[in-house]
Subunit: 156 residues, 2 copies
DNA sequence: GTTTTTTATTAGAGTTCCCTAATTTTATTA
DNA sequence: TAATAAAATTAGGGAACTCTAATAAAAAAC
């Protein structure tokens, strides 16, 4: 069964996953850099994640994920990507979207995540070139709506 | 300027605000009940919120909000309501929406919150009776899309 | 192959938020 | 009003996550 993991543990696992994607393994300082915490904090967390069976880690060694760790990390990453896409659909600037997707990726109910996912799928398909025009117009209209709001705010 | 408050402090302030809306003042046990924490925990937090100037509180007395506390609580509540409406638009069941709106109401960038707000406004206006048909059709289509997905999942 | 620099680890401590158990104050009711 | 019940408080402690400062190990440079 799936042991419940804290949002912070998810952050560490996702980070390790992303580093591994780049260079095959992670080092304490890579994680420290990406999560902006001190190396000593990372060491402590790696020991904990090792004890819980999420990472392969020995003192002074490089770090990889166990199958269980990879499973958690991939789930978190999928959620993250969904939320990032979603935020971009509702026209949140990309840098802010990347940051806030991290806030959203933890602790939401699976039903909520499912609906976010469907929404993103729906909009993606609905705005494809081969779809009825009225569907494609939707994004256009929302964009216009936001532009008007922005202009009014500047004038006021 | 605005002192930064933790998500948890926001929770307490919103809860006090909601209780005050009902009966004019809050008691330790009201907050304890609503947030599902022990009374001793609430006492500790009330002392902290009093020291920070967010609540009016004396030992054994009833609790109200200072103007600063009310300001924070109202901001949190507005965000909460926006997220709840939003989740209902994307067809999250109401009980889950209420719960997850609490998760969303903290720590998102103001730009993100602005876009959520606009999205809710846009959909609300777009689906009003006096709007072009193609706008109203949007919700209908999304609902159908979700129903199909659900049916496929049951069959599979 | 030393010396120097970088990286990693340990020890000890702080913050936030929560708890239990014991006690005190306030409210109720007999 | 005295006895009882309910509510609030205090003391002491724990889990999660973070830090600094000191130390140790590994890697790089000489």
């Amino acid at each position: 069964m799936h042991e419940s993991v804290s949002g912070r543990v998810e952050d560490y696992l996702r980070t390790v996953y992303e580093i591994i994607e780049q260079k095959g393994y992670a080092r304490i300082k890579d994680i420290s850099r990406d999560l902006e915490v001190r190396p000593s904090t990372v060491v402590e967390m790696m020991r904990k994640l090792h004890d819980r069976g999420f990472v392969v880690y020995e003192k002074y060694g490089s770090i990889t994920l166990t199958p269980e760790g990879r499973e958690v990390a991939e789930a978190v990453k999928m959620r993250h990507d969904t939320f990032k896409k979603f935020l971009e659909i509702i026209l949140v600037p990309e840098d802010v979207a990347a940051k806030d997707a991290h806030v959203l990726e933890h602790r939401l109910d699976s039903k909520t995540i499912l609906q976010f996912t469907r929404f993103v799928e729906f909009i993606t398909q609905a705005t494809a070139a081969d779809r009825p025009k009225f569907m494609r117009r939707w994004m256009e209209q929302f964009r216009k709506y936001c532009e008007e709001k922005t202009n009014n705010r500047i004038k006021a």
